[in-house]
Structures are given as C-alpha cells and as structure tokens.
C-alpha cells in the first residue's frame, strides 16, 4: 500500500508534464492513475470482504513510534474504493470542466496530491501517520478552494476552511499524542485491540474532546458547518470530490475507526450523537434557504455528515451497519449531483435555480443522471439511498431513551432532503425553458460519464445489495464495531414503521418542494438562514478580527518605538527579576564590617555621589558628560587606593578620551537640552537607584565568602617558571588567556574598519550629491 501511495504522489508531481503532452485529453490520461489504484484495491476486495485484513509497516521515525503503517480492512477498503473510484470519474470530469484552463496543470497536480493524501488518511494504521496525511488533505483542500486565487471570495473561503480544519487538526494532534502515550503505542490496530485501555484511562475525556474537535471541524459539524458551503468557491470537481464524497468524510472516518477504542461510553454517545443530530437537522433545512445549486448541495452534505456522525454516536450494531451503508450511498449520489450542478453551471452559465428551467430537452443525459442520483438522495426505492434512509429510521427508532427525539429529527431532516433532491433534479430541467446566460447544450461525454456511473451504482447496489452487503458492507461494519459482523440488506422489509415514515417523508418533502418558492421568501426561513447559516460565520469573523485588533493593540503597548522606554523596561526587568529571586530563594546574611572606613574612601564616595547627582540633574548634555567623567576619575582613585596602578592608568586614559570625544561630538551635533518631566525623572531615578542597590547588595553578600584563589595561585606559580613572564597580568593577557586577547584585538579591528567604512560611504555620498 505504501507503494500505491508513493506512486500516487510521484504521478501527482508528474501531472503538469502529462498535461503538457496530453492537452485536452489530460483528464482521460491522468484518470489512469486513480483507475489503476481502484483496480489494485478491487483485487483485494474478495479477501477483505471475507473479513480478513491486510497490514504492512515501514518504520518512519522509530524514536517516536511513527510508522508508515497501513491497514486494509472493510472500512479502509470502502473509503479507498470511494476515493479512487470517484477520483477516476472526477479526474475525467475535471478534464472536461476545466478544458483549456490556463492552470489545468496546477489544478490536476493538487487534485492528485489530495487523492494520495486522502488514501493515506484512510489506510494509515499509525496515529501520527494518519495525522500527517490528514494535515496534507487540509493543505491541498486550501489550495483547491482558493484555486480561483484572484477572487477575494476564494481566498477568504480558503483561509476560513484552513483555519477551522487547522484548529481541529491541532486539537487532534494533541488528542492523538495523548492517546498514544496512554496506550503505550501509536499503532492503531494495537490500540483497538487492547480493549478498554483508552476508555478507562483518566485522560479519556480530554482525549475524546480533542479528537472530536478534529473530527467535527473536518466533517463540518455544527457550529463550524459554515466552512463547507464557503468551500463551494472551489471549482466544481473539487466540491464533488473533496467537499462531499471524500475529504469531509475524513472526520466521520476517524470516528468510525476509533469507535472500538473510544466509543460506547456515555460521553461519546451524548457528544457524538448530539452534535451529529443537530448538524443533520440544521444542515437539511439550511439547504432550502438558498437558490445556488452548489449551496443547496453543500448544506445537504452537512446534513449527511451529521447523520453519519449521529449514527456512530448511537453506536448500536444496527447504527454502525447503517453508517457503513449510508457513507457509500451518500458519496455516490452526492458526487453525481455535484457534477451535475457543475455541468449545468458550465453549459448554461449559471447555477442559480431561479434562472434555470426546462433544460431537459437541451441536456437530456444530464437530466436523466440528475434524476437517478436525486432519487437515491431522496430515499426512493429501488435506490441504495432508500435502503440507507430506512436503516437510519430503524436505528433511530431503536435508540433507546432518545429514540423519539432522534426519529423526529431524522424525519424532519429527511423531509428537507427530499425537497432538496427535487430542487436539484426537477427545477432546472422541467417547467418552462428559461433564457440562460449561455445557450445551454449537452455536456461532453467526459462530464456526464462520471455522474452517470455514480448514479447507476446507486441504483445497482439498491437493486442488488448482495453485490456488497455480505462482503464490503459487513466487513466495514465489523471494522467500525470491532466485532465480526455479517448481514444481508434488502429493499423490502414488509410494511413496517420505517416504511410508513418514509412515505410521510416523501409526501412532506414533495409538499415543501411545491411551496418552496414562497416558503423560501418567508421571514421564518430567511431568519433561519441568518441564525444558523450566517451567524456562526460572523462569529468566526469577529473572533478573527478581534484577535487581529488585539494583536495591533499589543504592538502599541510593547513596541512603542522609544529607546528610553525600552531601556527602562530592560533595567526594570533585570532589577525586579533578580531582587524577587534574592528575596524568595536566597539566604541574605548582612555583612558585619569591623574595619574602619578611611577618610580618603569617604571623600571619593562623596565625590562620586555629587557627580552622579549632577549628571542626572543637569539640563545640559555637556555638563552631564563631564560629570560622568568625574565618576570615572574617582574610580581610578579607588584603583590607586587598592594598589592597582596599571588599572588606574587605563581607567584615566579611557575616561579622558571618552569625555573629549563626547564633547567634540556635542560641538558638532546640536543635541537639544534634556527636558524631562519631574515624573519621568523620578521614575528613571528610581530605576537607576534600584539597579545600583541590587548590585551593591549582591556584591556585599558575595564578598563575605572566601574568594577561591586556585586560579590566582596557579598563575602566580607558573607565570615565570612556565610562561617566562614577570608581569602576571601581562602573561594572563598574552599567554594564559591569549585567546581572549585575540578576540578583543579583532573587536577593535572591526570597530576601526566599520568607522572607516561609515566615513568613506558618507564622503562618497556627499561627492555624489555635489556632482549630480
């Protein structure tokens, strides 16, 4: 399987070259890749259908238990077949839909990359491996939604989808890592096999919430469902493939995959069923608010995703079986209908149902395809969609305490779905012929073949469920439940409650459809659209804008641009940090001094204090610098007092030079006198004093200890004997620590050379100015 995925990635990168050669036939040529992969997976159909699993593992990062491990069981095979099968048809479709597009090469490249990544998600048997492919699908989805990149709407929809799925992805990463740490392995099969280890773990709730955040954002569950209709800014092949048939199902796939390890707890039931059911009902009716075909389909996809989530949440054998069937049924009809919507848009120039009508004669094949697919979506026999819907009702009826609530929600939602199916399959094709922006005619074969096959598959599996029930569906259900299961499906169950509910649904749905035009315009319906469709989106937008506003605000606070304020902060942080640490952590023992302080020392001290005060108080920069120089000379006197004449000489030289240079600069540069307010001065004075106080205290404490003289003694002993120098300081500088001196020499050299460069550049600039 690794080979299959790698081949997919490699061919994806070759797509631009293939497009260059194959030109208008690119779709057909490139579809060989997914078709080949489809065949590859079909070869394993028999084996997996019998309930066997195929596994392979390649170590990726052994230190962290990251593996490219793959598992082919009923669940992953179902998804792999959907991904490659619909992938084949969508590629062909895209070739027709985007014919002659300047960036067909980029488009197909990203589409193929997506397909390879999506295969990785469903085949991965390692938590981190799964996550890696998961993120790749988010990125490719981002690039595809923003494909019409010069349109503002595309860019913001792409960003919105990326941020929401990205947020979920990050939560998921956290959840998966905690899960892996809790289980002691990142291998999914092992985790699923080790029974209750996750469910009974103290971090179960945390893991659950994080994983659900990942799954719900990806599968557009309420309240982040709004990104999915937003994603309709993508070209239609993308909507058909990513945003209905495959990628958005990654979330429910994850729930299904992890169900044996995490499911069947109370928290799981309430959270997953609850969010699923609410999403189902919300999405179903939102579809009826809009007249844009893709938007109608997008919201009905939200409904379907909600339904699947709800089913997994309910978690009974029956529910999981239903989920397995519903996933397939939905992908088939929804993929087909999106492509139909795309064909209408492509041929007639609009996909607004208000502007469409009577296309049946002009686009007969498309009309027929739409009808077949919509029958399945509406849950009308003998389609697979009918079986799916019956199973949903059956599940909801047997869901225990909440069955009444759930069945009402399901029926209500499905009434809306019937209406949506009719909107998509009837309104554009029947009634009086309307003048469309483009004169419509039948779509090319590349564009009706795909939806036709998908629609027909829905019919075939409905009439002959035995094609898949005992094999693929049963194996898939076994994988979701973790228990070996096998069952038959059939269209006819006799006259029972689900059938009666189905009839009610159909009647209700058709009634809604009949009055849809006026219903849509009602205040209630519009208000519903605003409340549940637009409001979550505006909450997202105000969160984003609020963050940005706060971001700008903090820049003003922390990056004022004034050096003076920066320095105050720096010194303040230093003093505060050290002082508080000293106070909290250290034993402060105050020194006792017995030596008397000499007159000489006191004089120097007074001199320094006076000079320091003068430097601060003075309004003239020149005076301040002179006063600072005075402090320097006083320090030199201290050196003399403690018999370090060489240091004193150096100090005097440095101070003299500094004062002279500074004075010279001041003569040249008109620096205005300092005019700080009293408050500023007091604050600065406080900061400066506390800095001085801190260092003094630290020195006093340290000086009580005995100085370790190991180094001094070593230098004393070896200076003359080994290093042949009589002056220890010199020997330290040129021998013991000559490496430091090398560095310092270079520092001075660089300084000199930097100054020369600055001056020369300045002179040159002046010259250039003079000779224009």
């Amino acid at each position: 399987m690794l080979t299959a995925i790698l081949v997919a990635f490699i061919i994806a990168f070759l797509a631009p070259l293939i497009v260059r050669v194959a030109k208008d036939y690119s779709g057909w040529v490139l579809s060989i890749l997914p078709a080949g992969l489809f065949t590859y997976f079909m070869i394993n159909y028999g084996e997996v259908g019998r309930g066997e699993t195929i596994r392979e593992t390649t170590v990726w990062l052994s230190g962290m238990d990251v593996e490219l491990a793959f598992l082919l069981d009923g669940l992953s095979l179902t998804f792999a077949l959907l991904i490659t099968g619909i992938g084949t048809l969508v590629t062909i479709y895209a070739g027709g839909y985007m014919k002659g597009h300047r960036y067909l090469d980029r488009f197909l490249l990203i589409l193929m990359l997506f397909m390879a990544s999506m295969l990785g998600v469903v085949l991965s048997d390692n938590l981190i491996g799964l996550f890696i492919f998961w993120e790749l699908t988010s990125v490719t989805s981002y690039l595809l939604i923003g494909f019409n990149n010069e349109k503002e709407e595309s860019r913001s929809s792409a960003l919105q989808a990326l941020l929401i799925t990205g947020l979920g992805g990050l939560a998921l990463l956290g959840g998966l890592v905690i899960m892996g740490l809790a289980a002691g392995t990142m291998n999914i099969s092992e985790i699923l096999n080790s029974g209750d280890i996750i469910r009974d773990h103290p971090y179960y709730m945390g893991i659950l919430i994080l994983v659900l955040m990942g799954a719900f954002t990806k599968s557009a569950q309420f309240p982040v469902h709004f990104w999915l209709p937003g994603a309709m800014a993508a070209p239609t092949p993308v909507s058909a493939y990513l945003h209905s048939a495959t990628m958005v199902k990654a979330g429910v796939y994850l729930l299904a995959r992890l169900n044996p390890a995490m499911g069947s707890t109370e928290a799981w039931f309430y959270l997953v069923t609850g969010f699923g059911a609410v999403t189902m009902l919300t999405g179903a009716w939102l579809a009826l608010v809009y007249t844009d075909l893709k938007r109608v389909l997008a919201y009905s996809t939200v409904m379907a995703l909600g339904t699947i989530t709800m089913l997994i949440g309910i978690g009974t054998d029956y529910a999981l079986k239903t989920a397995a069937v519903f996933i397939v049924a939905h992908s088939l009809y929804k993929g087909a209908l999106f492509m139909v919507a795309g064909s209408i848009d492509h041929e007639a120039g609009t996909r607004d149902v208000k502007l469409l009508g009577g296309l049946r004669k002009l686009m007969p094949v498309t009309a027929a395809t739409a009808a077949i697919a919509a029958l399945s979506m509406g849950g009308i026999p003998p389609m697979l969609g009918f079986i799916g819907k019956e199973l949903v009702y059956e599940t909801a009826l047997n869901a225990g305490t909440f069955s009444l609530v759930l069945i009402s929600m399901a029926v209500l939602a499905n009434i809306a779905v019937v209406a949506s199916s009719a909107i998509v399959a009837i309104t554009p094709f029947y009634g009086e012929e309307k003048k469309t922006p483009k004169h419509a005619h039948e779509a090319p074969a590349s564009m009706w073949l795909g939806p036709m096959i998908l629609g027909t598959m829905g019919l075939l599996l409905g009439v002959f469920p035995s094609l898949a029930d005992r094999s693929l569906f049963s194996a898939s259900t076994s994988a979701i439940s973790g228990v070996e299961t096998s069952y038959y499906l059939s269209l006819w169950h006799g006259i029972n409650l689900p059938l009666i509910l189905s009839i009610i649904t159909l009647a209700g749905g058709l009634t809604v459809f009949k009055f849809w035009n006026s219903l849509r315009e009602t205040k209630a319906m519009q208000g519903y659209g605003i409340a549940l469709g637009d409001t979550p989106k505006s909450i997202y937008e105000s969160l984003l804008n609020g963050t940005l506003k706060f971001a700008r605000f903090q820049i003003d606070v922390f990056q004022s641009g004034y050096l003076h304020r920066y320095m105050s902060t720096v010194i303040g942080v230093t003093v505060f940090g050290a002082a508080i640490t000293l106070f909290l952590r250290a034993d402060i023992v105050w020194p006792e001094y017995h030596d008397s302080v000499s007159f000489f020392e006191v004089t120097i001290l007074i001199l320094m204090i006076v000079a320091a005060v003068a430097a601060v108080v003075s309004k003239s920069a020149l005076k301040s610098i002179t006063a600072l120089g005075l402090i320097g000379f006083a320090i030199a006197l201290i050196y003399i007092q403690f018999s370090a004449p060489d240091l004193a000489i150096t100090q005097i030289l440095v101070e003299t030079l500094t004062v002279i240079l500074a004075a010279l600069v001041l003569v040249k540069l008109p620096i205005p006198d300092v005019v700080d307010s009293m408050g500023t001065k007091l604050r600065d004075g406080f900061i400066a004093l506390s800095g001085g106080a801190l260092v003094t205290v630290l020195m006093l404490i340290i000086l009580q200890g005995e100085l370790n003289l190991e180094l001094t003694e070593y230098f004393g002993e070896n200076s003359y004997v080994v290093a042949h120098g009589k002056n220890i300081v010199n020997v330290i500088l040129v021998d013991f620590r000559a490496f430091d001196t090398l560095g310092e020499i270079i520092v001075l050299g660089v300084a000199a050379f930097g100054i020369i460069s600055l001056i020369k550049l300045y002179m040159n600039d002046k010259k250039e100015e003079q000779q224009p």
Binding site: M64, T547, F550, A578, D587, L711, G754
Partner: protein, 504 residues
C-alpha cells in the same frame, strides 16, 4: 586531524578569509571569490568536526595547552557540533545570495569580511567552554553586527541599528556583571569547572539570583518577552542577505547559550528557574505570533515571528526532559534554515514584485510558480505542517510536553501554531495569490527583465537548496532526530561534558 585543530578551525577559517578580504579590498572580484571559497572551506571544516564529534563523543581542546580550568577550553559536543555545521551551511547560502543581493558600495566597504567575522564570532560562542571567552565572542558578534547593519547609511536603518546596539550592549554589560559575580563565588571561568564547583556551594539561592541576571542577558539576545522590542525594529531594515543571516542565526545562538547554561551550570533550583523559563516561553510564543498577525509587511511579519519561535525553543529548555531538549535542538536547527529561507524569499519577491509591502505585492503565484512552491514549502514548514521538517520540530516538543502532562504550555504552543499558519497564509494570499494592484509596474515584461538571469540564479539557488533541506529532513527525519537525541542526552547528562573538559 587532531581534535584541537578541528575545534579551532571553524573559528580561524573565517578569520583567515576576513583578513584576505580586507587585504584584497580593492578588487571586488577577489573579495567575492575569497568569500565563497572561505565559506565552502568552512563547510568542509565543520563537516569534519561534526563527524569527529559523532564518532568520538564530546571533544575538548585547551588553548595554549594550559590545562583546564586555567586556560581557555574549546568544547565540541553534539549540540555545538550540529550548530556550527548548520551555521556553516546556511552562511554559505547567504554568501552566494549576497553575490546578487549586496550592492557594489557595500561590497566595496567590507561587507564580506564583516560577515566572515560575524561567522567567526558565532562559532566562537558555540565552541567555547569558557564564560569570559564567551563574552569576547558576544562583543565580536555585536560589533560585526553593528558594522553590517550600519554600512548602508539609510536613516531608518541607522535608527534601528542604534536600538539594536544599545540594548545588546546593555545585555553584554549585564552578562559581564553576572560573570564577575559568579567569579567572585567560584573563582573560575571554565564552564565545566564552574558547574563542578557550584555543586558544593551552599547558598544556592544566591546562584539562582545570579542565574536570573544571566537569564535576562541571554533573554535580551534571544529576544524573549518582554525584552524583544529591539528585534522587530532592526531586522527588516538592512539588505535581505544580512537580515536573513541575523534572523536565521543570531537569536538561535542565544538559545544555544541559554540551553547550555541552564543544563550545565544553573541546575540548582530547576523548579524555580525553569518555571520562569516556561512562563517566558509561553508568553514569547504568544506575543511574537500576535505581532506577526498584525503586520502587513513581508519582512516585518517574518521578523516579529522569530520571537514566537524562540518561545518554542525556550519551552523545550524549560520542560527540562531529554525529550524536550531533543525538541529544542531539532527546533533550533530547523528554524535556522527555514526562517532564513523565508527572508531570502522575501528578497526575491521584492526584486520581482517591487515591494515588501503585502498590499503592493501580488501575482507572484501567477507569474512565478517556482517561487510560490519554494515559499509554500518554507512557510508550511514554519507552521509545522507535515511532512516538512517543521512538523517534526513541533511534534517532538508537543510530545515532550504531553509526556509530562504540561497541558497548558502544549495548548499554548498548538494555539500559537494556528496563528503562525495564519500569518504565513496571509503572505501567501496577498503576495502570491492576489492579483497585482492595477497599473503596477511589475506587470510589464520590462520590469521582469530588470533582474538578470545570472542574478536570479544566484538568488534562487540558495533558496532551492534550503527548501530541499526542509523537504529532505521532513521525509527522512530519522537523522536529525538521532543527532538531536544525542545532543539532548549530552546536555542532560552533564558528566560527559564535565569529564571531557577537565580530564588532565
């Protein structure tokens, strides 16, 4: 080759070529040639050094053959080894990029020697085992950085430079003060020796206090919250090659130093010091990424975002487990070339699109797909998307945090990475996806011809190389992981370092 030769060569090679560059200052060609040869030699030397460290473990050399702790020791462990190697490789990329990016005037006034000396200073900081010697390298870093920032003479540039210099000067002074205090306690400057002597010192609170001074000093250099303000005001002004070098390498060197001190020397009161570090790490992440979210200039976004990433590296040091330090090492190495590459790309975008302002840029995806691909690779790596190197960096840190139930910091780290993604995608949407503003001169053929093919190749080659590195490390993380793992073991295991340096 002898160990001491291997350890000193990364410091002497750039010095040699800086000197050559100064001697040959009259010939621009000679300067350019020596710079490239020198940088290539540097790569060769550091490869040899790293191989030796990988084979033999930690190695040390005593300068002038004065035994430790009396002379100055150079030490190469896996962390410093991978750092000098990364610096060498990335600075070669910078030198090549500079050939097309740096104007003649700057080249004439010593750009290449100054950059060489900066590399020397960085290598000195990474390889020294002596506290005071490190101060010398800090000084050299600062003065060469000053020269690089100031030759150019634009007003905005000088303003940023002054902030940079004054605040970093304070950091160095504070460092010196702290070194003095520490010397007053232990009477030694050799880092290994200091570590040993501190073990028997009783007033650990005093050491902790002094460690806070070191923390502030390094924190300034690493641009952590709340001391980061000098960085966003100076990094976007000089030529791209210079800001890319600074952005890629300098703050990470400070992180290296922080990791060194807070694993080797200041481990008396981990509960206190490393908790402070954890807070700093978290706040730094948040503040940096918020800054990036608010900016709308290519390089300003990247600059302030450095701060955010610094927070992640500190998080690893603060969590203080082998896994966490592994994450930090991985993160640091990855950041160096990813962040550098984004700066380099901003330069190309500026040349092709005529601006650093996102609002004025546009159409790069349409006209230069290759640049778009290179940007996407680096940007998504920075945001920690798999299968790029940045993912593993983020993943190891997250894993390390969750392993020890550090929920909050992991939550912050993950949340911040969403805003990182936002900032990167913002650049993408504005500069690459959006159409060029109406009537923009960059739309014309003539404009695109302004930049010669030769220059474009010189600019693009390093970018392609660094992007490839991101992909290769992403797909084959095992190697850098193994290196980081050993580096973390050596950092946490202290004794190997101490024994190697102090052995007679």
């Amino acid at each position: 080759m002898e160990n001491h030769l291997l350890l000193i060569l990364p410091i002497l090679t750039p010095l040699l070529f800086a000197a050559l560059g100064m001697i040959l200052y009259k010939s621009r060609t000679a300067q350019r040639t020596t710079a490239i040869i020198g940088s290539a030699a540097q790569v060769a030397v550091t490869v040899l050094l790293f191989r030796r460290i990988w084979e033999e473990g930690i190695i040390a050399a005593q300068m002038g053959n004065w035994p430790a702790p009396f002379g100055i020791s150079l030490v190469g462990d896996t962390f410093s080894g991978i750092m000098v190697l990364t610096v060498a490789v990335t600075s070669l990329a910078i030198f090549i990029y500079s050939l097309a990016d740096i104007d003649k005037k700057r080249e004439h006034y010593g750009y290449y020697p100054a950059l060489n000396l900066l590399v020397m200073a960085v290598n000195g900081t990474l390889l020294t085992g002596d506290i005071f010697n490190m101060f010398v390298w800090f000084e050299l870093t600062l003065i060469s950085a000053f020269v690089l920032l100031s030759i150019g003479n634009t007003r905005q540039q000088l303003e940023g430079t002054i902030k940079y210099v004054i605040i970093n000067l304070f950091s160095s002074a504070l460092f010196l003060l702290a070194v003095g205090l520490l010397y007053g306690i232990v009477g030694s400057l050799n880092m290994a020796d200091v570590a040993v002597k501190l073990e028997s010192y009783e007033n650990t609170g005093l050491i902790t206090t002094i460690s806070v001074l070191f923390m502030v000093s390094f924190g300034l250099k690493a641009a952590v919250f709340p001391l980061f303000f000098w960085l966003p005001s100076s990094y976007h002004t000089p030529p791209v090659a210079i800001s890319a070098f600074f952005a890629g390498i300098l703050t990470k060197v400070a992180i290296y130093v922080l990791a060194r001190y807070y694993t080797l020397i200041f481990v008396q009161d981990v509960g206190y010091t490393h908790t402070i570090l954890l807070w700093i790490g978290g706040l730094t992440m948040v503040i940096g990424v918020l800054g990036a979210a608010a900016q709308y200039e290519f390089r300003k976004i990247l600059s302030i975002h450095i701060v955010s990433q610094i927070g992640y590296m500190i998080m690893g040091i603060a969590l203080f487990t082998p896994m966490a330090l592994l994450g930090t090492v991985f993160f640091v190495v990855n950041q160096i070339f990813v962040k550098m590459n984004l700066f380099l790309i901003s330069g190309i975008a500026n040349r092709l699109g005529g601006s650093f302002e996102l609002k004025e840029l546009g159409g790069l995806y349409k006209n230069y797909l290759w640049l778009g691909v290179l940007f996407l690779i680096s940007a998504f790596s920075l945001a920690g998307f798999p299968p790029l190197s940045g993912f593993w960096a983020k993943f190891t840190l997250v894993y390390a945090g969750l392993e020890i139930q550090a929920w909050v910091i992991v939550g912050v780290a993950l949340g911040v990475s969403l805003l990182t993604l936002f900032s990167m995608v913002k650049i993408w949407a504005f500069a690459f996806w959006k159409a060029l503003p109406e009537g923009h001169p960059a739309d014309t053929r003539d404009y695109q011809k302004r930049i010669s093919t030769r220059d474009l190749i010189l600019l693009a080659a390093p970018v392609v190389f660094l992007a490839l590195l991101t992909v290769v490390i992403g797909v084959f993380p095992e190697y850098l992981y193994a290196v980081s793992e050993r580096a973390a073991e050596q950092l946490m295991g202290r004794t190997e370092y101490i024994e190697t340096v102090l052995q007679p």
